[in-house]
């Protein structure tokens, strides 16, 4: 590589765009939340968290994100392990079927669950036909449907992160462990799992932060009493025209994602030490 002043010229257009249209707007949003009548203040944050409704929204968002991440790990881990041990060709096929939903519009993906979980949806009609229930269950517009929607949205991401790491675990390591007397279960616990942790971390960060910030799914699959941070921003900005509160929620969202990413990374470096 060479040293060259002209390189900055290559980067300049991009830098200008990002500074003007990413950094400046974000800064302006964050800045106004600390602006008071006289200098900087945390008053808006205090007011926000004093409101039990807001606290509820915040806690719900974290809870749903945590639940989503856990389910994605539980479903994704064994699946990814299975995929990572397949032949190159079969693995490619599985990857295609994971990437396809990932590239499909989130509106379409959330909508498909409205079709399944709705009052006259498929699940209810099946259950009714089997005489397992008398009346249609209320499956939609609650926390349950949001979690299902989020898991559906982010599971491919978890699978891709894990497969990426697991397919690099050398088959020889597994055979070495077996030749030293480890059963399949022990191989999994003592070799596969520890070596998959980096993928697990990446996947979890992606799914968790994705769930905290997701808008489409909670908007379509959630109801009026399942507001989360993302829908709260939208409500405050577009229905209540309360720009200050919307900015506060936005800032809280940024801080939370940064903090969670930092925490999980910290945790992983301790695990690796």
């Amino acid at each position: 590589m060479k040293k060259n002043v002209y390189v900055y010229l290559l980067l300049l257009p991009g830098l200008i765009i990002l500074l003007l249209f990413l950094a400046a707007p974000l800064f302006s949003t964050v800045f106004r939340t600390f602006q008071g009548n006289e200098g900087l203040t945390l008053a808006k944050y205090i007011a926000f968290f004093k409101d039990s409704y807001n606290r509820g929204v915040y806690i719900r968002t974290l809870k749903l994100a945590l639940l989503t991440t856990l389910i994605a790990v539980i479903l994704g881990f064994p699946t990814s392990y299975y995929i990572s041990r397949l032949s190159r060709r079969a693995r490619g096929l599985y990857i295609i079927f994971a990437v396809f939903p990932l590239l499909t519009s989130p509106v379409v993906r959330s909508f498909s669950w409205m079709v399944i979980l709705g009052k006259n949806g498929i699940l209810n009609s099946i259950l009714l036909k089997l005489n397992l229930i008398e009346e249609p269950l209320r499956l939609l517009y609650n926390e349950f449907s949001i979690v299902i929607g989020l898991v559906y949205l982010f599971l491919p991401l978890m699978i891709m992160s894990l497969v990426g790491v697991m397919e690099n675990i050398d088959e020889d390591l597994i055979e070495a462990a077996e030749s030293l007397g480890a059963t399949r279960r022990e191989v999994f616990i003592r070799v596969i799992f520890p070596l998959s942790i980096p993928g697990l971390i990446v996947g979890s960060v992606l799914v968790f932060t994705g769930s905290i910030t997701a808008y489409t799914t909670p908007q379509l699959l959630g109801g009026s009493n399942t507001t989360v941070l993302a829908t709260l921003i939208y409500q405050n900005a577009m229905s209540l025209f309360d720009w200050d509160t919307a900015s506060v929620v936005a800032t809280i969202m940024i801080l939370t994602t940064v903090f969670v990413t930092f925490l999980i990374n910290k945790l992983s470096s301790r695990l690796n030490a």
């Binding site: 020889d172 055979e175 070495a176 077996e178 030749s179 030293l180 007397g181 480890a182 070596l195």
Partner: protein
């Protein structure tokens, strides 16, 4: 009775047959090498013994018990992999201790045995290192220690030195041999490197196309190959078609060449007499004489073709009535292209294959 026997083992991946009715007996305390070009089935044989490959047909008997269906983790065989296969998330100590922990051995006993074996392989001070921090040679020692510490009933080594540089290879193979003999451990060693194989083994099995062509001591393999493949593999570059004329007592006999010339062959590797055979001879065993020199038998007339200087000697391509032959000649005298010579084939240097 042999400690280990493979009986009529066949292995196939789909239609691709890798091993065909393979038989192999290994005695206790022996180091047997499987030697051959890539794709000959040597690694498959080793992995079958290790339990990583399933046989389509045949039985694997070990120590009088049928091991054919015993899972890998119950075999108690140490396996040393070509690329070491050290657990990257564990220290050297924990790598070596892995198998012992699996056997529920008390902690202080584990510590004692791990440190002992690390001392044997000269890595006592490296116990707390991560495999990443080790050189190739050190990694291989850890892999060896890890396989040995479980006191395996059999040690399997899959081209363990092929990722090391030439000098280190020589050093490590001596060490492996020393440790193997010290522990009196039965071992099977896969390699494609002849010199390595000959220097380390009690017996060598030369494999080709999924069968063992010859199982013998290194000396016999080198001097008295029994098949054309083995002969070619160990450096017999010239093959001359022969037809039996008269047997001699104690082996050997008189043979006729295609051009009517007669060869006497005394060297005999214990094959049955066959009417049509091939005589194999190394380039360095053929003598170049001036035209018309030598006796009636065991000579051929030829014309010098391309010559190459190889340092210790010249190597000539010589055109003869029975085909092109490779012959080494002294570095002091160089025959010119087109020169007519007589080649002499010493009767005890020709091997019938």
């Amino acid at each position: 009775m042999a400690l280990l026997s493979l009986k009529n083992i066949s292995v196939a991946y789909g239609k691709n047959v890798v091993l065909k009715n393979l038989n192999l007996d290994v005695e206790k305390g022996e180091l047997v090498s499987l030697l051959g070009p890539s794709g000959c089935g040597k690694t498959t044989t080793l992995r079958l013994i290790g339990g990583f490959v399933e046989a389509k047909n045949g039985r694997f008997v070990f120590n009088g018990k049928d091991y054919t269906k015993i899972p890998v983790h119950k075999r108690n065989f140490g396996f040393v992999f070509q690329n070491y296969a050290l657990f990257p998330h564990l220290t050297v100590f924990d790598n070596v201790a892995f198998g012992l922990k699996q056997r529920n051995i008390p902690k202080n006993e584990i510590k004692k045995r791990v440190m002992e074996i690390l001392e044997t392989v000269g890595l006592k001070d490296y116990a707390d290192r991560s495999p990443r921090e080790l050189s190739g040679g050190q990694k291989q020692r850890v892999a060896l220690a890890r396989a040995l510490v479980i006191q395996p009933d059999l040690l399997l080594l899959d081209e363990p030195l092929s990722n090391l540089d030439a000098k280190l290879r020589v050093k490590m193979r001596l060490e492996i041999r020393k440790i193997q003999q010290e522990y009196n451990i039965t071992a099977i060693y896969v390699t494609h490197d002849q010199e390595e194989c000959f220097s380390i083994s009690d017996r060598v099995a030369v494999m080709n196309n999924g069968v063992i062509e010859q199982l013998d001591t290194p000396q016999k393999i080198y001097n008295l190959p029994r098949t054309e493949f083995v002969a070619n593999f160990v450096g017999f570059e010239n093959f001359i078609e022969l037809e039996l004329e008269a047997k001699e007592r104690g082996g050997g006999g008189f043979y006729k060449l295609k051009n009517g010339q007669r060869f006497k062959v005394t060297h005999f590797n214990g094959r049955e007499y066959e009417r049509y055979v091939k005589g194999a001879i190394r380039p360095e065993e053929i003598d170049i004489l001036n035209e018309g020199g030598g006796k009636e038998t065991n000579t051929l007339k030829g014309i010098i073709g391309i010559s190459t200087f190889l340092g210790k000697h010249y190597q000539y391509v010589v055109e003869t009535e029975v085909g092109r032959l490779l012959v080494n000649g002294s570095a002091h005298k160089r025959y010119e292209k087109g020169e007519r010579v007589t080649l002499y084939f010493p009767e005890d240097k020709i091997v019938l294959v």
